[in-house]
């Protein structure tokens, strides 16, 4: 259980240490194992037995840094709980799902439900730590722009992003309102380039789904959910980027 003093691991654990995690898991053995792993990383863990209890716990008020949720649970599964956490409780807390199926199979539904990442069970503890740390870090990665080697150029690009992107987002939303999916697709495609520049992975992922929806399924309900999720993550990215360049 004790890990080597690999610098990468130290950085990951220092991000996790002291963070509060809500665990929704119905299997008692897994409950204890997960609690143990989270404690090992210095985290505080609260465990509930299904999605319904998770929603009720969050409704009651305690604030968590991250939510770890099993996708296959009785009463209310992970997807349904995530949808309620995002839509009803309007919480932006990062959610990592656990599944006994393959995560690739679940990925599409996860993104639509507002779940950022999915890990397969049984999991490797390093993988679990790394994924949680990624969800707890900034929703963008400016290291892609390190290649500019210049603080002024970096600020210019971030400013360009902050002034131009909200307009494109507004235009995309207006076209979605009119259900003009072809135009929604065009704006989503454009946004994928600009959000890619600042390494906003979740936004890129959401835009990819929006493009797919606009091309194939064209389901207004799913589209609405994807766009709402996009907007709330975008607002967060915007706020943090503004602080970054001040």
């Amino acid at each position: 259980m004790h890990l080597l003093k690999d610098p990468d691991h130290i950085a990951v654990v220092s991000l996790l240490s002291g963070k509060k995690c809500l665990v929704a898991e119905n299997n008692e053995v897994d409950q204890s194992l997960i609690t143990l792993l989270l404690h090992e990383a210095g985290m505080i863990a609260d465990v509930v037995g299904d999605g319904y209890e998770a929603v009720e716990r969050l409704k009651a008020g305690p604030v968590y840094d991250i939510i770890l949720i099993d996708l296959q649970m009785p009463v209310m599964d992970g997807y349904a709980a995530a949808v309620r956490i995002r839509d009803e409780l309007q919480l932006n807390t990062p959610i990592l799902a656990m599944t006994e199926t393959t995560p690739e199979e679940e990925q599409y539904n996860c993104i639509v439900a507002g779940i950022q990442d999915c890990i397969s069970k049984p999991f490797d503890l390093n993988d679990l730590y790394r994924r949680m740390a990624r969800l707890l870090s900034k929703p963008y990665d400016l290291s892609r722009l390190d290649g500019l080697n210049d603080r002024g150029a970096l600020t210019e690009i971030v400013n360009l992003f902050l002034t131009r992107t909200p307009k494109t987002v507004q235009e995309m939303l207006a076209e979605a309102e009119k259900q003009d999916w072809e135009k929604v697709h065009r704006y989503a495609h454009q946004l994928k380039s600009s959000t890619g520049v600042i390494g906003a992975q979740e936004l890129v992922e959401l835009l990819r789904r929006i493009e797919e929806q606009a091309t194939y399924q064209k389901d207004a309900g799913t589209m609405g959910r994807l766009l709402r999720r996009f907007c709330s993550v975008f607002t967060r990215v915007e706020t943090l980027l503004k602080q970054e360049i001040q």
């Binding site: 892609r144 722009l145 390190d146 290649g147 500019l148 080697n149 210049d150 150029a153 210019e156 690009i157 360009l160 992003f161 131009r164 992107t165 495609h189 454009q190 994928k192 380039s193 600009s194 890619g196 520049v197 390494g199 890129v204 990819r208 493009e211």
Partner: protein
């Protein structure tokens, strides 16, 4: 090298421009395909970097134009991940290299450097 960059997304366009300038290249920026087609004739660049999906004229049209000239200009196409079939089409038209978005600026720089050294990737 004199490099023409055609990309309709302003932030990405500026990012590429800043990096290539830093590498000591001269840059010509174009915000759509039509502007690119005009500037290829006017400015005679040494290398073209073109996005595949652009208004007015696509990256494919740009590859076509660059290869119809007496002295052919090498072209690197930029594409999104799900556009692989279009990338094949670009190669058939004579594109010399491609980069999938999102990419790192280091990758772009290294790929461009090969053209500057006269070592274009061999894809035929």
């Amino acid at each position: 090298m004199k490099i023409l960059i055609a990309e309709d997304e302003a932030i990405l366009l500026r990012t590429i421009e800043l990096r290539l300038k830093k590498d000591g290249h001269e840059t010509i920026v174009c915000v759509d395909g039509r502007e690119a087609l005009a500037k290829i004739e006017e400015q005679d660049p040494d290398l073209i970097i073109a996005d595949i999906m652009m208004p007015f004229a696509s990256g494919l049209e740009i590859v076509g134009a660059a290869k119809r000239r007496e002295i052919k200009i090498p072209v690197v196409v930029l594409s999104a991940m799900e556009q692989e079939s279009v990338v094949l089409e670009a190669f058939q038209l004579g594109a010399d290299d491609y980069i999938t978005k999102p990419f790192s600026l280091e990758e772009l720089s290294v790929r461009v450097k090969r053209f500057a050294l006269g070592q274009p990737p061999r894809n035929s």
